[in-house]
């Protein structure tokens, strides 16, 4: 981003350079020639060793909550309750998994999550791609206005209450539309796509239009087939966001049959659905709560954990595309 400024700003201030000059003369002195280099290299070695240790600690701390949840999900509640479960399960059992996997509500909500994710991602992609393609055309009249309209919403939005009133009065409560429509376009994703389309060679489209292709034809037959990487990245961005989303569902859905699995989990955490309804008995409701939560968490993150190692490079390249400005 803002590439031009880098060189200018990284030029060493004059003061530093003059400060460094005497050092160079010192170094020429044979007595000083070896000593500082040696000292620096041991210091650097120490730093590198420390750095590796530190970053490994960061990795451990980052992964720890996940390992802890997995361990708890396989542990018996007695051990969880006495605070003995950390990295590996104690009193190994899969009873809770059986209970949850046999729960109809869990599967219904899981299915809803899949449905919402697929529909919402499809809608988002259609809207984002068509808008991005049009506003990437530099000679489109009104382009600045269209871009401005979109970008302004990044910094200013209507707020919770007016949105709620609007969705309610549109009659979208307790329908899939309240989940898949209100956040259909992410301006961030839109801008990434726009800059991708802008960087496509113009000659390609000019040649296609000389060959008699219309703007639709160019988009569907030339541009999109060449944009598979960015389209895949955008699909991933939207799909993960939709898979993880809960707040729209929390606001606009009242019927448990419509809940996505994030709401199933949220209600469990908030204690709305007590563990009892998922198979516990009245006395040990609190005790097995942690165990049941862990199992639900594991089952919810499982699909993401499974695809994560393979797709994370696309996320990375997507963010890069958005940030690198020529």
């Amino acid at each position: 981003m803002v590439k031009g400024t880098i060189v200018k700003e990284t030029m060493l201030p004059r003061k530093e350079r003059t400060d460094a000059t005497p050092k160079r003369t010192l170094r020429d002195d044979p007595a000083f020639r070896t000593a500082p280099a040696l000292r620096e290299s041991t210091l650097m070695k120490a730093f590198r060793a420390f750095n590796i240790l530190f970053l490994c600690a960061v990795v451990f701390i980052t992964l720890y909550p996940f390992l802890n949840i997995i361990a708890q999900s396989f542990s018996s509640e007695g051990y969880i309750n006495s605070g003995q479960v950390n990295l590996y399960p104690k009193g190994f059992n899969v009873e809770t998994y059986k209970v949850i996997l046999a729960d109809g509500a869990f599967w219904r909500n899981y299915g809803n999550t899949v449905l919402y994710t697929v529909v919402a991602t499809a809608i988002s992609m259609v809207l984002t791609t068509s808008f991005a393609y049009a506003i990437a055309k530099k000679d489109l009249k009104g382009r600045g206005l269209f871009i401005g309209l979109a970008v302004f919403t990044m910094f200013f939005n209507g707020g919770l209450i007016p949105n709620y009133v609007l969705i309610t009065s549109l009659g979208m409560r307790d329908t899939i539309w309240a989940i898949v429509l209100p956040n259909a376009i992410s301006v961030f994703n839109l801008l990434i796509m726009k800059s991708f389309f802008e960087n496509m060679p113009r000659e390609l489209e000019e040649a296609a239009s000389i060959d008699g292709l219309t703007q639709y034809g160019i988009l569907f037959r030339i541009v999109l087939p060449l944009s598979k990487a960015i389209v895949a990245t955008m699909v991933l961005f939207y799909a993960v966001a939709n898979w993880n989303s809960w707040f729209s569902a929390f606001l606009y859905l009242d019927k448990p049959d419509l809940f996505p699995v994030t709401i199933y989990l949220r209600n469990m955490i908030a204690g709305v659905t007590t563990a009892g309804s998922a198979g516990g008995t009245a006395e040990n409701v609190d005790q097995i709560a942690a165990n049941i939560q862990s199992v639900t968490i594991v089952l919810t993150v499982l699909p993401i954990l499974c695809i994560y190692p393979f797709v994370q490079k696309y996320f990375f390249s997507g963010v890069m595309l958005g940030s690198v400005k020529e």
């Binding site: 000059t21 209450i161 989990l265």
Partner: protein, 330 residues
Amino acid sequence: MTLQLETAADKTTTAEPATAGRRTKGRRAPKTGWKAAIKRDWRLYTLIILPLLYFLVFRYLPMIGNVIAFRRFRPGGNIFGETWVGFQYFQLFINDPSFWQAFQNTIILGLLTLVFTFPMPIIFALLLNELRSRRLKKFVQTAAYLPHFMSIVIIAGMILQIFSLNGTINQISQALFGTTVNFTQDAGWFRPMYISSEVWQTMGWGAILYLAALTRVDESLYEAAKLDGANRWQQTWHVTLPAIRPTIITLLILNIGTFMAVGFEKILLIYNPLNYATSDVISTYLYRVGLESSNFSYAAAIGIFESVIGLTLILSANALSRRLAGTSLW
């Protein structure tokens, strides 16, 4: 996206919007009338219709819907309210001590977030950049990005478990000090709990843009610095940091812009009435009075107040950085 404007997009947004806007001005096509433009590009305009409708209905209509802050509103009635009442609702919240408590909590949490979570990705990126083994670097990155891909509901579940009475933190506390603390219920512990989990969540992914900027630093600058006798630390201070300064400033401005929105969804999931004294922020308070107690107009008034402060913050941060650092979003 959602109220937080989709954490992912929000936190990693870049100077893009600004440059986009500026460029359009420079390269506008030679003046053609709308009629000619539509005749030539009607296919492009048809592509725009649906997305434009989306923005108007789901983004701009709610902005106009804010007029209910000045009007009496009946649920189920006109979405723009019934009768004008002026600044009545604004006066109401200005005299409401719960609001001011939420306001104070918002400022404190926002500042703590800025102080603790903003520098961490920079430090992390710099340390990562010093790693020689590419495989180790890749491994650390992969692990550190993971929390970013988790639903906030899952993160909330993890926070509540780790900090629970028999969770890991209390096990450590038990081993070291022989006492346990009810972190999730104790108002005094909410801020540490919130900030530490925020650092955990954002440090890895937040480093991505810095890592990208680091790969673009001109190698010859390091060579020059070495010739001048700069050691590794001096190279970092005089070459690396200035090189990623535009990135730092851009992200700082954006962070300041979302200052008022402090982790609304996360707080909503992990707070409870016992720690409202420190955990209740403007957005959660607005949510409770607006949607749980159905005071739509009152909550809309608070919402406007919040948005205006947010917009003012981002505008002044931008102006300040343009004047002081010569880098700005627009």
